[in-house]
Symmetry: C2
Subunit: 326 residues, 2 copies
Amino acid sequence: VVAVLDSTRAGRTAHECVGVGGDLPVVGDLDDAHRLGAEALLVGIAPQGGELPAPFRAVVLGALERGWDVFSGLHVFLGDDPELAERARARGATLWDVRRPPVRRPVAAARAARLEIPVVLTVGSDCNVGKMTAALELRAGLERAGCRAAFVATGQTGIFVSDRGVAVDAVPADFVAGVVEDLVLEAARDADVIVVEGQGALRHPGYSGVTLALLHGAAPSALVLCHQAGRDRLRTADDRSGAAIPPLAELVREYESAAAWVRPAAVLGIALHTATLDETAARAAVAAAALQTGLPASDPVRFGVEPLVAAVLARRARGRNHATAS
Amino acid sequence: VVAVLDSTRAGRTAHECVGVGGDLPVVGDLDDAHRLGAEALLVGIAPQGGELPAPFRAVVLGALERGWDVFSGLHVFLGDDPELAERARARGATLWDVRRPPVRRPVAAARAARLEIPVVLTVGSDCNVGKMTAALELRAGLERAGCRAAFVATGQTGIFVSDRGVAVDAVPADFVAGVVEDLVLEAARDADVIVVEGQGALRHPGYSGVTLALLHGAAPSALVLCHQAGRDRLRTADDRSGAAIPPLAELVREYESAAAWVRPAAVLGIALHTATLDETAARAAVAAAALQTGLPASDPVRFGVEPLVAAVLARRARGRNHATAS
């Protein structure tokens, strides 16, 4: 990534605007991005409903006019827009709609439940609490510990990061679990541990179905529960319905109950997203989560993912001993 | 319906072939169906994966050639097939793919949970255990009892029966709950009670996500648990994974727990599908279900839906008294 395009904040750095991204420059138009070496455009937003905002259209057209590839994770497929598709064709540019579902229509049948290697799924108290980040950090930590760890991307950003996967929330509902099952079985061919990116939350009224399909399609043996420290209500489309998030220990029981409808799974640890807290408050939140659940806890970005890696490795060792003993 | 098309069983009646359908004749080709007055073709199968079987193609083409409308509930959309679409256009016939999802992309936010009228959802121990039939019988029974009862169809056959609804299993997963929420809110404008057709099962590894999205999108206050008497294992795509179906009382607890993640709901009764049992065994199965769960039970087709109607009306009366008292 050479630049972030935001006409309202040009001249600043990513860090100055959103607190992460370091010195990455924010530029105001495609010309400035081009001067920095850009040759592709990524539509980096995920609005509820997934439409292309009207002001973005001219920018996408401008990028295609230059022959740049355009990557999009929107629910609306840019490649289905006649004007955009024609412009891409004329300029030899590629429109990559990463949310476009696969053509195949697999129906899950708990086949991933028969894998002997650990399958770890990140689950959450809500949307946007760090499930993808925790999964990526866990994969990296497992690799540092000498494991061949596979990351299964299930959302558009995960796909941009890992260059493969399926945005399961755009798959026709009957086939979400089946697509995830396929991804996990494919990843198992060349891995010692599989880490699956979770989506949504069992208590989210809009997305709980995606969450349960992932839980039953991936059929994990282990879960990592993710939560944003300080968030006490669900973020939904309708402010009035933002129900209270229950204590973490209750969420642990709920996810383990729902997993067991297909395959028993244990929550191995808690991944907290503490970016909005100062250092002292963040450490206190991690300690409180560990105390309340009796599980290892960390903010994998801020304090390291090692406690969660250790929990997965311990589980893997127990699984092997069990396999040897039986 | 004037005839059933089945080249392997022509000359018999529907009842002789499948035990229901009375004297409806089975015919071997479109000519015979035409002689009986047919002027439309309904593709009446729902194979896993939802493709059009190759032998059906010529029949669909033949029907369109005659100018017949063709209705389909397959996951594959006949209208997207260039040859079929062209034939329909040339002959002025309509291809109606009832599973085609709506263009709108609503995200649910538990809005249906604020309805004061009862919303009743049928849920099940597995797929194909009578959830649609129980819902249709319940609606009819409530109307006989003087209620304005709405039926919300969520699957292709329910849509064929009621001429409206959405096949939610074909909707992109993010919007299943939102589509159901919209359907329920729309039905509430003109009804005293809403009966929603359920789909799948919370323990089915392939379809549990659809089930939970329906449960949280419809946000029912009451559930009817459906089960086929004698079925003891889930029917999945992979025979090896057909897990045991737990006792009904345990399923009652599971559905009530999962509902409560968004809105508390009580299972009001059990609808048993007993068609494979003789009269004595069927009555014994109904009695056993009632005894085991402490709830009213019936086979709504064989023994009448009245026990379930009475349970819904009692619940409605309690809701009203509560509203008056508070």
